[in-house]
Symmetry: none
Subunit: 196 residues, 4 copies
DNA sequence: AATGAATGAGAGTTCATTCAT
DNA sequence: CATGAATGAACTCTCATTCAT
C-alpha cells in the first residue's frame, strides 16, 4: 500500500500538536511551568517524551505557544461581552460565569504567567505583557459605565472597580476551585462587590 | 579559651534554626516549594549549604517544620478575633486587614500548601488538612452570627458565607499583591460581599 | 498497470544504494562519522529517513560499506602509477595531483578512518588496517627506486621516504583545502621533499 | 577542627580546574568537540560528572576556556622564535620540532578549531579567528626574510611560503603522529621544502 | 518499495544531599 | 559547630532506529 498522503499526515500532525498542547495546558495550569516535567506531559498526552520535540522545539516553546493561543482567545471573549444579551449586570455576570467554569484552565494558565513572570520563559512573559490587563479590561469599561448610569452598579472609577473585580476573579481561578465543602463562592456573592 | 557551655550552644542552635526557617518562609512563599533551591535558602540565611542539614533532615522537613509553625500561629490569630474591640463587622474587617498585610508571608505559604498539595511534601499536605478550614473558620462563626442578628451582615448559612469570603481572601493573598496599577482591592470593597 | 519486473526493481535498488552511499561519502568526509546525522544523509540523498534502513542495516554498516569501496578504488589507483606516462618524478607528481584534487572526498574519508579509529565503527577501522599503508605504498616503491637511480629523487630508504611523503599528503587532504589566503601548498613545493 | 581556610580552598579549586582542563584538552584534541562526552572528561579527570559544572558553566565554556588559553600560549611561542639562538634556519627548525612533539595536544586542539569552526561553539571559533593565522605567522616573516638574504631559504613570497609550510605542519599535527611503522616524517625532510 | 511519525537510549545539565576537613 | 567541594539521581533534549500505513 502507498504511504499516507499529505492530507492525512497533516491531520495526524494537527491532532498530535493539539493533544500535546492540551496536555500541557492542563499540567502547566495545575503545577506551574517548573513543576511540570516533560515526562508528565508525554504521559498525559499518551505519547513518548521524544515526540514532543518533533512538534515543539523545547518545553519553553510549547509553553509560549499555549500562552499565545490562550491570550488571543481570552481577548476575543472579553471583546464579545458588550454584544451579549441582557443588561450590563447580566453581561458581566455571564463573563464571570464563563471564566469560573468553562474556560477555567485557560484562565488559570494565563494568570500564572501574570503572577510569576520570573518563573516562566522570558518570551512568554513578554507576550503576556503585550496583551496586558488593559487589553482585557478596556472593552468592559463602557459596559460598566452603562451599568452605573442605569443604577445597576456602584459609583466609583470604573477602571479601578473593574480592575479589583477582575483581580478577585483571577485569584479565585488560580485556586483551581478545590473540592472544598462549600466549593467556590457563588457568582452572585461576588457580584455583590459591584452591585449598588 | 574554654569551649562554649551547653546553654550558649543551645542558644546558637536556636538562632540558627530560626534564621534558616525565616529564610525558608520568605523564599517558599515567594517562589513555591519547587522553585526554592536549598542554595537560595543558605544564601538568604547567611549560612553554608551544608549547615541546613545539621538542623533539618531534608528540604522537605524544613518545609514541614515551617508550615507546622505557621498553622499554629494562624489558628491562634483566628481564635483571637471574638476578643477584638468593635462590632462583628469591625472584628472581621480587622482580621481581613491583618491577613492582607501584616502576616502576608505566613498566609501566602499556608495557602500555597493548600492550593497545590501535589507539589509539596506529602506530610506537609497532611498537616495542612489536619488544621483544615474548619479549624480556621469555626471560631468566626459565632462572630458572624452576632453580626447577622444585629443586621450588619447578609442573611444565609454562616459557614458557607464565611467559607466563601475566606476563599476570596485566601486567593488574594496568594496573588502576592503585585505592583498593578490599582493594587489589590480595598478591604471595604471585599466586605461588601458580606455587608447587608 | 503491471508491477515492475525483477530487472527494473534491481535497477531501482542499485540506484538508491548508490545515491545513499554518495550522500554518505560527501557528508562523512566533511563532518566526520559522529557529525553526520542520518537525517542529513536522507536529505542529501533525497530519500526518506526510513529508506536508508532498507538498504543498510545501520549507520555503521553504511559507513563500512563506503570505506570498503573507497579502499579498493584507492588501491587500484596506486597500482596504476607505474603505468602512467613520464619519468618516475612525473608519475608520482601525477598521483599527488590526483589525490589533492579529483578524488578529494574519497581520500578525505579514508584518512578520517585512519586518523581516529576510536570514532568510527570498529569494523571500519579493521578494514582500514587490512588495506594498510603497505598496500597503498608498496606499488610505488619500484617507481621511487627507479627515480633514485636516475638521480631524480634523494637518497634514503624508499619505504621510509614514501611513507613520510604520503603522510604529508594525507594530512593535507584531511585539511580539506580551506579557503585560506594562499590555499594549499603547490604540488611543486611538496615534491621538493623528495627531489634531490 | 575548623574548616579549610581560604588559601587551601583556592588551591583545591585551582587544582580541580586544571585537572578538568587538562582532561578536556587531551580528549577534545583526540576526539573532537562532539566526539568528547562529558562523561569521558569526568572519568579522565577522575571526578564526577556533576563537578565539571561547578567549574565551568557548560561543555561549551570549558572548550572555549581551553582554546583561549592555548591560543595565548601559541602566540607567545611564535613571538619567541626571533630570539632563539642560531641561524634563521635553526630557529624555524626549533619551532617545528616544538610543535611536532612537546606541545602536540595544544596544537592539535587549536587546529581542530581552525578546521571545522561549524562543529565547535561559536564563541570558540571567534576566538580562534581573532588570533588568526596572521598573528601566528607574521612574527616569523622577518626571520624567514633574513634566511633568504643569507641564502638559507629558497626565494619566493615569504608570506606564501611560510603559510604553506605551516599548513603542512598543522596537517601533520592533526594526524596525531600515529604509531605507524615509520612514524611522522623527520623535521629535516619537512625543512627541505624551504631550504634552498 | 517508500514514507515519516513514533520510540527510547543516552547526552548535557541541575540540584538536594553527603562528607572530608 | 561549620564549611563548601563532591556526588548522583533526575531532568530536558537529540537522534539512530522501528513500524504502521
Amino acid at each position: 500500500m502507498s504511504p499516507l498522503n499529505k492530507k492525512q499526515l497533516d491531520q495526524i500532525k494537527d491532532e498530535r500538536r493539539a493533544q500535546i498542547k492540551e496536555a500541557g495546558l492542563q499540567l502547566f495550569a495545575r503545577h506551574g511551568f517548573g513543576g511540570t516535567k516533560t515526562s508528565m506531559i508525554a504521559a498525559e498526552a499518551g505519547v513518548s517524551e521524544g515526540l514532543i520535540y518533533r512538534y515543539f522545539k523545547s518545553k519553553d516553546e510549547l509553553f509560549i505557544s499555549i500562552v499565545q493561543e490562550l491570550m488571543e482567545e481570552g481577548k476575543r471573549e472579553t471583546e464579545e461581552v458588550p454584544r451579549l444579551p441582557g443588561s450590563p449586570y447580566e453581561q458581566i455576570k455571564s463573563l464571570t460565569e464563563n471564566m469560573l467554569s468553562e474556560n477555567k484552565y485557560a484562565f488559570m494558565l494565563i494568570l500564572q504567567a501574570a503572577r510569576k513572570p520570573e518563573e516562566i520563559p522570558e518570551e512568554a512573559a513578554k507576550i503576556f505583557e503585550s496583551y496586558s490587563a488593559e487589553v482585557m479590561i478596556e472593552p468592559l469599561v463602557p459596559v460598566f459605565i452603562k451599568g452605573q448610569e442605569s443604577g445597576e452598579f456602584i459609583a466609583g472609577d470604573p477602571h479601578q472597580l473593574l480592575n479589583w473585580y477582575m483581580y478577585v476573579i483571577n485569584s479565585l481561578i488560580l485556586d483551581e476551585v478545590g473540592e472544598k465543602e462549600y466549593g467556590a463562592p457563588s457568582v452572585e456573592l461576588l457580584m455583590r462587590m459591584l452591585k449598588s
